[in-house]
């Protein structure tokens, strides 16, 4: 295990350095996302003002604010570009270079991406969590921060990231068959965004639909960690959702292994 970790640590290092190379791009990417958060905030503000109710589907306006910004933090933390990266490597044939190295194909992507994200997470997590807590203090008049919830949130995010990573790996393998993923990937991101509660909280959906969505792996990506942070889940419910996350990690991990075995036989390296 230690040996293995030593093989993959350089991928984390390289990932960090890659992000650092394109600093300006990275800063603008984050700024763009923060702007999107504010757009979302004003839309919900308009919804709450026009409805005249203080609480909708169990969410008060201050809770909604917390939800929007936490959702942004969470989706940044758990996002995975591996489907896109695999697709690109298959399209331009550079996947060949990855295959001639004595390392696990999935492993290299995983650790490189962790490296890529590490800096983003470090930069985002403190201001966002502090900001969210200030909002809560202002609205409720007392400190709401719960260290245990925060810790559970981080654990849940880790599982969420692994689910997303292996799901994206499975998805990326479609590129072995259709060769170019850009369009399909766009569609996938849209659907996943909706199913995971990144666009509207799942509690706003009709009850039967909500139940289905809650069981699907996508709610484990964003919705579960955010609900845990906000203290909406506790006791057995909390345990149930964490276990569901673990279940999906294992399921997608197994599937990615299986897909890999099938797909590598279908590989045809494009371009020379």
């Amino acid at each position: 295990m230690k040996r293995k970790l030593k093989i993959y640590t350089p991928f984390i290092n390289a990932g960090i350095q890659e992000t650092a190379t394109y600093r300006v791009n990275w800063i603008f990417y984050m700024l763009g996302n923060v702007l999107a958060c504010f757009v979302s905030y004003f839309i919900w503000k308009a919804v709450y003002t026009s409805s005249g109710e203080s609480s909708m589907n169990g969410f008060t306006m201050p809770q909604m604010v917390v939800y929007i910004f936490l959702m942004y933090l969470t989706s940044t933390m758990v996002s995975s570009d591996s489907a896109y990266l695999i697709g690109e490597e298959i399209r331009d044939g550079s996947i060949a270079m990855r295959l001639v190295k004595p390392v696990s194909f999935n492993g290299t992507f995983l650790f490189q991406e962790i490296g890529n994200k590490l800096m983003t997470i470090c930069v985002l997590i403190i201001p966002l969590v502090v900001g969210v807590e200030i909002v809560r203090v202002v609205f409720t008049g007392s400190v709401q921060f719960n260290f245990i919830s925060f810790l559970l949130y981080l654990i849940s995010c880790t599982f969420a990231y692994l689910i997303n990573f292996f799901f994206n790996i499975c998805f990326g393998f479609i590129a072995f068959i259709i060769k170019y993923l850009w369009g399909v990937n766009l569609m996938k991101n849209c659907i996943v965004g909706f199913l995971s509660g990144a666009i509207i909280p799942l509690a706003f959906l009709p009850k039967p639909l909500e139940q289905v969505f809650l069981f699907l792996p996508f709610s484990s990506l964003n919705y579960t960690p955010v609900m845990i942070y906000m203290g909406m889940y506790s006791g057995t419910t909390l345990l149930y959702y964490i276990c569901l996350q673990i279940f999906w990690v294992v399921a997608f991990w197994g599937m990615s292994k299986l897909f890999w075995r099938i797909c590598v036989k279908h590989l045809s390296v494009q371009g020379g």
Binding site: P10, Q17, T21, G93, M97, L99, V100, S104, V269
Partner: protein
């Protein structure tokens, strides 16, 4: 060391009918066609040999290399290298080989070159002291010092290729695959790279499989060549065999103002040889004469031509590798038909 038996690879290719309508049709009702890229190739390479692997574009060289390195799975047939099957034991197999694809890079594009070697050191589990010795050695052979701290994307093609070859040699592989390592390089860098490959092969007994379009690569490096065309093996033998058989073709290029050069020169009649041995092509002023130098010596050809007509800008060239391959392939088919 390397055994390749009846290797075959088929690809499925979607065919798009021409035009906009065709694009629509293939969107909903794609037609596909089976393409045989490699068809029944067998050869062996003993340890410590440099094998030149040549053939025209699209002959299937790269596909063979990709199967030998475990990237592609053969449709049928078998290859065994160091007693291992590349596609079955991929991870343990690739530890013992080094691969360079001239048209791709294994270096980390955005990182300083040194970082790539650091990553490779961990991947191949090279101990610290061996790593330092190895880097010093590679630096001496390939002269990396001047650009080792620059990001890879800023390197010139020649520097990048040297760096790539160094990367493939870091873990002292037993077998080295080089797919067009001198593509697009200038003469000095080509020389440098050839010397490095030769040196590594001599000092470490590394088996090398080399594909190239530059006959000079093969001449300086390998004794034996395997030539393939249209996925089939058309020649397997030493360089001298190839040269004595097919390498005697020369091309004479010159410009002239004389009209009707072919009739004015009439090589076949003058030398008393058949039209197969000498062919003349004209394109406006420029003339290309292809002849077999073992039948008509180059000096005779030149003095006769210069004496007969007014000539500018004359040069004699070796027939390029494609030309030899083309002849060889024709010959191969004729032999089969005779048999």
């Amino acid at each position: 060391m390397i055994y390749v038996e009846n290797l075959r690879k088929e690809f499925k290719k979607t065919i798009k009918e021409p035009g906009l309508l065709g694009s629509f049709k293939s969107l909903f009702h794609p037609k596909s066609e089976k393409i045989v890229a490699v068809d029944d190739i067998s050869f062996e390479v003993p340890e410590g040999e440099i094998l030149g692997f040549i053939g025209p574009n699209g002959a299937g060289k790269s596909t063979v290399i990709k199967m030998l390195t475990g990237i592609l799975t053969p449709t049928s047939g078998k290859c065994t290298i160091n007693g291992k099957n590349p596609t079955v034991d991929r991870k343990s197999y690739v530890k013992e080989i080094g691969v360079v694809f001239g048209q791709r890079t294994q270096l980390w594009w955005d990182l300083p070159l040194r970082e790539t070697y650091g990553v490779l050191k961990e991947i191949y589990e090279v101990p610290e002291d061996r790593y330092h010795k190895r880097m010093a050695f590679l630096n001496e052979v390939l002269d990396l010092e001047s650009f080792i701290t620059s990001p890879v994307r800023t390197l010139s093609l020649g520097q990048r290729m040297r760096a790539d070859i160094a990367a493939s040699l870091l873990h002292s592989p037993k077998v080295l695959f080089l797919d067009e390592p001198t593509i697009g390089l200038d003469v000095v860098v080509k020389d440098n790279i050839r010397n490095a490959i030769d040196y590594i092969n001599k000092t470490e007994k590394t088996t090398v499989i080399l594909t190239t379009h530059d006959l000079a690569d093969i001449e300086t490096l390998s004794k034996r060549i395997v030539m393939i065309d249209k996925g089939q093996n058309v020649f397997d033998g030493t360089i001298s065999e190839l040269k004595s058989k097919y390498g005697q073709i020369r091309e004479l290029h010159f410009d002239t103002d004389t009209a009707n050069v072919e009739q004015a020169l009439a090589y076949a009649e003058h030398f008393g040889i058949s039209d197969d041995v000498v062919t003349t092509e004209t394109d406006g002023k420029s003339v290309k004469v292809r002849f077999n130098s073992s039948v008509v010596p180059v000096s005779d050809m030149l003095s006769y031509t210069l004496g007969k007509i007014n000539v500018n800008d004359i040069s004699v060239k070796d027939a390029d590798i494609e030309e030899i391959i083309r002849r060889l392939y024709k010959q191969g088919v004729q032999d089969e038909e005779k048999a």
